[in-house]
């Protein structure tokens, strides 16, 4: 699982590529929490190459959204594959994470 970081204005873009499972979730946790603790408040996660997510990955996302919400920040997701969306719907994450089809829409929502 690879994570690439970029910036668009004051929005941090993190692209999560590959599988987010119990053996890779720690890597994302470290990246997300370090970013948030480092002052980044607007995070947009590019999920276009996210192939798999299990509860380990969900747990990391939940931790991150709690952390960022605590400092009045925001995490949005975009370009989720259908399977990932299915998992999100089952655990009720769709209401916790604004999700968009494109990066453009995701960035626009971060401006609001």
């Amino acid at each position: 699982m690879d994570i690439t970081k970029d910036k668009r204005g004051d929005v941090t873009l993190l692209a999560i590529k590959g599988r987010l499972d119990a053996s890779t979730a720690n890597k994302l946790e470290e990246k997300l929490l370090t970013s948030i603790d480092g002052g980044e408040r607007r995070l947009a996660l590019d999920c276009s190459q996210l192939d798999y997510i299990s509860s380990a990955g969900l747990r990391v996302l939940l931790l991150a959204v709690k952390r960022v919400t605590g400092v009045n920040g925001k995490i949005v997701l975009y370009a989720l594959k259908d399977q990932i969306k299915e998992v999100f719907d089952i655990v009720g994450f769709s209401s916790l994470f604004p999700s968009f089809a494109t990066q453009e829409e995701a960035l626009r929502s971060c401006d609001q």
Partner: protein, 140 residues
């Protein structure tokens, strides 16, 4: 093809990557649709992770057996371990309508298992934990 795949895993989280490969192999062998393979992978990963994380009172190496089979349009996935008596289904259902601040971090995985699989059953035959899951192969 009715044969059963039986794979041994060690009780360490680094084995989760191999679980993904095994499920992919099984799915390819039986021409299972990718969404079904994904769901089986997620459910199995959850059970295996719970066994690895909470199933043992010692710090020894243990073998966990995962069995996969297809029979009459249904996939059966089993996880058998020799750890302490532990039923991962004992976890309470998370309230998926709760507000963010009230959501506990745990409990998501078993919820996923119950929702993704058609049938989930725990047994304790002869001192082993046996978690069995079944899912119908979609005909569309």
């Amino acid at each position: 093809m009715n044969e059963q795949m039986s794979i041994l895993f060690k009780n360490t989280l680094s084995e989760i990557e191999r679980l993904g490969q095994v499920v992919e192999e099984f799915a390819a062998l039986h021409h299972l649709p990718p969404p079904l393979a994904f769901e089986i992978n997620v459910a199995l990963e959850e059970i295996l992770t719970n066994v690895i994380s909470y199933g043992y009172d010692d710090s020894n190496e243990h073998d966990i057996i995962v069995r996969l089979s297809c029979n009459e349009g249904e996939v059966t996935a089993e996880v058998e371990d020799d750890g302490r008596p532990f039923n991962p289904l004992g976890a309470a259902e998370p309230d998926t309508n709760k507000l963010l601040e009230e959501r506990p971090v745990g409990g998501l995985g078993i919820h996923l298992v119950r929702k993704l699989m058609d049938r989930v059953e725990y047994r304790r035959p002869q001192g082993k934990n046996l978690l069995m899951m079944k899912k119908r192969i979609p005909t569309v």
